[in-house]
Symmetry: D2
Subunit: 331 residues, 4 copies
């Protein structure tokens, strides 16, 4: 009964079907009809023009986006616990040639106007200090918190007023939108680029890097090739992404994962470290309690000394979810 | 009737089957049973211990290999027409942080002891000149030429005697082995790392980066993550590669592509720019002749002003191959 | 009456004399007799073998040292307020190709075993997180605090026990040694490399990068050239450094600067933000008090909202120092 | 009797005087009055607005210029024997984060419209090949050849028409201008940036990086700091450069070096590998002839197997020059 992560969950049958259907003769790289269809599909979803590239991982999507936004001598403001800071083996430093991540504070791993302003005010505008060129946020955040449309709009307005680019890491973007009940654009309003996650949400090996600032996309295409991320049979990447969009599968899957999370939350209200606004649940659990759950067959990650993280997925087994909910209630 | 490249050919049914079979719960990244099985599978194939990583593209495989072999201030000797020099958008410069490709000459895009020695003799051993740390060759070469076991052994012995690392780009390694009729190891004898190509040979999105110098593999694992190439559902990458090895599918596919090439060669002996030792055919063809072939429905790349390149694949349609052979004979 | 910094102070007459004397025919780069004499001169000073390179700035010295110690995918533990983190425009990221500075806490901008251990304990040993390869400290620290020989020995022992390299930024190393009254080696015991500052201490344009781990020096020589820091008339760099060592001028100058600082401290004990153990003085001073001092002709930097920084130099005018001391007392 | 290089020649007395005069209290970095005077001084010299930075070496000047002109995934067209290609330990790769030097041919190490056009025509405009962003030439060239005003104008016009930036490495710019008898601007007409050499021409440790495209200069200022080239006592750098301009010292010194070269040429017309248009002389000389010269006390570099390079300087001893001329005539 696995609640370790959604990152290795099964591939959705409709994604499989789309991949099989893509195995017809096509031009290589992103010259196939499926890859060429991405821009229009996302333009429809977000209600505005955009330019879309497939890449194999969220790390690549995030870092390619940042590489188009900052010079090597510049910086990116992000949360102290952002994935790009803590869990990508320094990939942003690689892709940006040493640009600096400038760390901001914020409850629930979320940034706000105040926390970004605090970082900016501490930087002298001279050649001795790294000058920021972009801000990156995660929707939903690393603690499963969603930015409301109002929060997102206020933050992006501030960021742009300061002349900075705005990147949204949407590894679990679907879960945030499913929770918020807003339009996709409202959930990332003002973004110049969005890493639109598919792999954790029923895909296999393709994330969509969506540029609302289309001028950045050509640069990203060069950098993608240079990073070894331009697959010759790209049609299979595009097929996965289009299948996720088709009929709103991405939202359907995210809702399923969120619902599973809420079933667990129902029995653990007094243990929550963070409100659950996506599919990640952080619970206060003693060493003994965790041992007890593991003895019953549940797997999950420790989170520090007295807590644990549970993650549900689009295909979390309802039986297991109920079992976990009961087991926590019974602790 | 497409002879542009093998890089967008269909995925082999056995690869599809292996991928579908891999869609069971497994730990993420390369902790799944399939990824863990790669070392042993290649050790058996090559008759010696090795450490194997999957990556999505040949560019990534080549560049990760080189990144473990050279410091940023060092150089890699390669052929003037090597793929890493001409067609990877500077990816080696990215992955190695600016190491220099030091260009050598050689017939058929092949290096030899003499051509490498010529480069070495032109470099003063001071801090003003870039000092080489590695040599990279392509098997089969960019002109579809295979290094014989004797050539490979002589070259690698020389390279190592000079204290350099040895990398083999095997984007079409199977085609070379199929032509040579030697063991896989003989076709890359002395390699510290081999980019073992699958995508052009019936795979979808996985190449095997094989380290015979196993000490380099741990470094490559860090760099792979840092480059955004560590896929969370890596089991689908491993599945592709294992399917290629299973029952010698890689060699079977390569033989099919080579045989198709030879059928074309049979009618074009007097037009050959290079002996055909793999699945690439370079033919002298006038502008009119190329137009004539295209008018009959054949697609292929021009190669300079008076030649063309044809590439066969594991699944080249026998009817098309025969048709092309006849059409050339009839010019 | 300038107390802004020691970084633009006059050049000591003996440094001038040495430079003039160096203007005789000599081989270029570091092949001249003066450059060749550096290793022996520092070996005598530190009582152990070392390899020494001149470079033009502290930034270059620090970054070249770090570049020999960490791979691009690795990290350097340093204090949150270390100069390499805050004031070098991301130079460490440039020289190390994106290695990450991992920030530690510590009173007075000093690290200790505990604070380094705290950083280490927060890092999982997997490919997702940046693994540290080195620790860098500043002697004296950015707040003018000196590490005692015992502190330095304990820290370096811990660092090495963890398999990390140890770098000491000694932009004001002389001031620390002058304060501690210990041997030069005791003030950096265990260092693999020391940036031995001269420019702030009476030099013009040369810092000594001293490698006690001599194996790193050859690498640094290549990286120095690659960074455009190998001056062809290097003899003038070496001459400055040798003049600083000759007759202990470096210590004499540092003592003068420290003494000037102590004269100011004497009248400001109740205002000190940090004990003054070198030539930097951080004082609580209200907006009005700072205005009053400036009205009397003193120049210095604000330090946040209610403090100021004063820096003395080897040639601080005694009249000005006394005047400042009196002026503070009179506030 | 040293004819190895001009790179270690003595410092001119007027440069010394200017440096001594600069040792008065001044703000640090480039905020002093001398550094601030550079723009105007060069604007007058070149008859057009420009922004000027001092740096310590020609390598740094060249690489900082290129770093402002090309993205990491772009390329710089230069001659196969350009200094940036052959003798800077890969420094351009470091400063540009892996941009590629695209090598062009040309007699006397000079580029021309044809040779640049040949490189351009070989590059497909897709993401697989490195796209050039700049062209770099050396005035005078690595073989001591000067571009005439007409050649320079034709080349720069072509370069700009193709949308590329234009950099001139002027390590021996003075020698070229002295030979050509044209205005300084005519000798680099169309340059976006010029590395104006001083060190080989009587300076000590300062080169002027002159941006005629002033928009690039701010970027260069950040990169200079990031590269550790922003010296705190920058006034001594500015002083050297201003002294070189004052009264046309740079041209006077270059003329002296050129005249010395011509005296040698006079006795070696039939041995010349290249016309001598600056202060470098390449002569066919057998092994025995070189040994004979060395036995008479002359030092110089071999140039391949049957030639030698002699370099004169602003202060070449007339006695030695005459002696060399006679010795060659007597061979």
């Amino acid at each position: 009964m696995q609640f370790l992560s959604d990152n290795a969950a099964a591939v959705h049958p409709r994604v499989w079907d789309a991949m099989r259907a893509a195995d017809a003769p096509q031009p290589p790289y992103d010259n196939d009809a499926l890859s060429q269809a991405l821009d229009a599909a996302f333009a429809e979803l977000f209600g505005r023009p955009c330019a879309v590239l497939w890449v194999a991982t969220g790390t690549a999507a995030n870092c390619l986006a940042l590489a188009t936004m900052v010079a090597p001598h510049s910086g990116v403001i992000c949360h102290r616990e952002a994935h790009i800071e803590t869990d990508e083996c320094g990939a942003p430093g690689f892709y940006t040639h040493g640009a600096k991540l400038l760390l901001a504070e914020g409850e629930g791993a979320k940034l706000a106007v105040d926390s970004v302003a605090a970082v900016l005010s501490g930087i002298r505008g001279d050649v001795h200090q790294v000058q920021p060129s972009a801000v990156s946020v995660t929707q939903a955040s690393e603690y499963g918190r969603a930015y409301t449309p109002a929060e997102m709009a206020a933050l992006s307005a501030f960021v742009k007023q300061r002349g900075l680019k705005f990147h949204v890491d949407g590894a679990r973007f679907g879960n945030a939108v499913a929770h918020l009940g807003c339009t996709p654009w409202e959930a990332c309003a003002g973004a110049d680029a969005l890493s639109f996650g598919c792999v954790k949400n029923g895909g296999m090996s393709a994330e969509a890097l969506v540029f609302f600032d289309e001028g950045l996309a050509d640069l990203a295409r060069l950098r993608r090739k240079r990073a070894g991320h331009l697959q010759s049979k790209g049609r299979f990447m595009a097929a996965q992404i289009l299948a996720m969009l088709e009929g709103g599968l991405w939202l359907e899957n995210a809702r399923a994962a969120n619902a599973a999370a809420q079933e667990i939350v129902a029995s653990a209200q007094d243990r929550l470290l963070h409100p659950v606004e996506a599919n990640e649940i952080f619970l206060r659990l003693s060493l003994d309690e965790r041992a007890a759950l593991r003895a019953q067959g549940f797997s999950f990650y420790d989170w520090g000394d007295d807590a644990a993280r549970f993650v549900t997925a689009w295909n979390s087994d309802p039986t297991y979810v109920s079992a976990l909910s009961c087991a926590i209630a019974a602790l």
